[in-house]
């Protein structure tokens, strides 16, 4: 599987096919048992995923921590993160008290604060309300239209709208499709059988 700068690539497949595992491998959260991953651009973590954060620290402290690790200035990013995540005063509370939605919004906001070349998007349509979804779309596909993206979704319309190529994952194997519609059709047949 290859992804180049600026490309939007989708990954579809049934539940349990291994899509999220693949995303974790690409992001560096896990090491592959065989094979290799060659990275020539910077890759985000799965953007709504808050597992890389420290539960006992506040949202604000986590932002600072992440910014320091990636060499960004936290003070510039603070107002954006506060606005985008809509967390308000909760930003100064330890994230262990956050609901799962709040954690996901914080993670999303912080991932937008770092300048990654490639964004890993794993089922983020489930995060936040309609207004938040609209904001996310704007941040991702308008402001970061030039970034590479690897998108995992069960929402075929989402894949159709945003991806130029698709990989279909089945039984741990990837099948490449240049034609997004063709991939979706094959996927539909597989799901029906």
């Amino acid at each position: 599987m290859t992804v180049s700068l600026g490309e939007k690539v989708g990954i579809i497949g049934r539940n349990g096919a291994g899509k999220s595992t693949l995303i974790r491998l690409i992001g560096g959260g896990e090491k592959p048992t065989t094979g290799a991953i060659t990275r020539t651009m910077s890759i985000s973590w799965p953007i709504a995923f808050s597992g890389g954060f420290q539960a006992s620290l506040t949202g604000r402290d986590n932002l600072r921590f992440i910014c320091r690790i990636y060499g960004q200035n936290p003070s510039d990013k603070l107002s954006f993160v506060k606005d985008f995540s809509e967390l308000g005063d909760f930003l100064d509370q330890p994230i262990k008290i956050y609901s799962s939605g709040m954690k996901a919004r914080l993670a999303f906001a912080i991932s937008m604060a770092i300048d990654f070349d490639c964004l890993l998007i794993d089922e983020i349509m489930a995060v936040g309300d309609a207004k938040f979804n609209a904001k996310s779309r704007e941040e991702l596909f308008v402001k970061r239209a030039h970034k590479a993206m690897i998108i995992v979704s069960h929402n075929m319309k989402y894949i159709q709208q945003n991806c130029s190529r698709v990989y279909l994952m089945n039984d741990g194997r990837l099948q490449h499709f240049e034609d997004v519609n063709e991939a979706i059709a094959v996927h539909k047949t597989m799901m029906a059988s």
Binding site: G52, Q54, R64
Partner: protein, 269 residues
């Protein structure tokens, strides 16, 4: 922008060192925040706690009447001895099973396993060294129980070797603890065995001959002797071999670094 180094990583060695410096700095801050919080005197506990414990121990040793056995300044003896113990004991305990609570952070590519150890070790070095130094200064100013060290350079060198030894030991034990759970079970009792064996509680010259030879195989004994030689060396005959200690430090460092490299390769799951 495609040519610039990706956020958090570096292309050249210098850039990578800068990245590591930043990551360790971030881990240090995070470690301080999680351990001491923001309230009260917060981070001051880093050295306040070891200071308090050392004072208590020093009082205990003095009360036990150890000073009756020779004219060794007992307070200096206690402070040097116990501060040394704190260094290798606290550091090794912090590094064992250190990865588990930090596993989430390893998901970020700039963060490496060694960085986690380095951050914790640096914190211990700063805390224990500050405690040691402040105690010496405070006792010097406020009591007549202690005299200024006779050879500050030697004290500093010995303390540096103590720290290096502790770091080598801690990385080795830390990496080992990732490979087997036996370490976290066997090390705590071993610590108690090493309390008396480390030389913190005796001077080599006071030991019977056979025991002297045996005890000089333990590198910590050399560190303690050297530390005390610098402090009040005119009161006793110090028995130590700095090179022996350095060899141990080097050996432990190499083994520790090698082990942590192996662990990363084979067990990041």
């Amino acid at each position: 922008m495609a040519d610039a180094a990706p956020p958090g990583l570096g292309r050249t060695l210098v850039e990578q060192l800068m990245v590591q410096r930043r990551v360790i700095g971030a881990l240090l801050m995070r470690e301080m925040l999680t351990r001491y919080g923001r309230r009260n005197i917060g981070f001051l506990w880093l050295f306040a706690e070891p200071m308090m414990v050392t004072v208590i121990i020093a009082a205990l040793w003095t009360a036990r009447g150890l000073h009756q056995y020779s004219d060794i300044p007992i307070v200096a003896f206690a402070i040097t001895g116990y501060s040394g113990i704190q260094l290798w004991r606290n550091m090794s305990r912090r590094c064992i099973d250190a990865i588990e609570p930090n596993r989430a952070l390893l998901r970020h590519r700039p963060v490496k396993m060694l960085d986690i150890y380095l951050a914790r070790m640096m914190l211990e070095v700063v805390g224990t060294t500050t405690s040691f130094a402040l105690l010496c200064i405070l006792f010097l100013i406020f009591s007549n129980q202690i005299l200024p060290p006779e050879n500050i350079l030697e004290v500093a060198l010995a303390w540096g070797l103590f720290a290096w030894f502790s770091m080598g030991l801690s990385i080795t034990l830390g990496a080992l603890s990732e490979l087997t759970s036996l370490v976290s079970k066997f090390w705590p009792p071993l610590i108690y065995i090493f309390y008396p064996l480390s030389g913190a509680m005796f001077l080599v010259e006071a030991l019977p001959h056979g025991l002297k030879e045996f005890v000089l195989y333990i590198p910590l004994v050399h560190a303690n002797e050297m530390l005390r030689d610098g402090f009040f060396g005119s009161h006793f005959i110090a028995h130590y071999d700095a090179f022996y200690l350095v060899n141990w430090c080097l050996g432990l460092s190499i083994i520790g670094l090698g082990l942590s490299h192996l662990t990363v390769e084979h067990r990041l799951s």
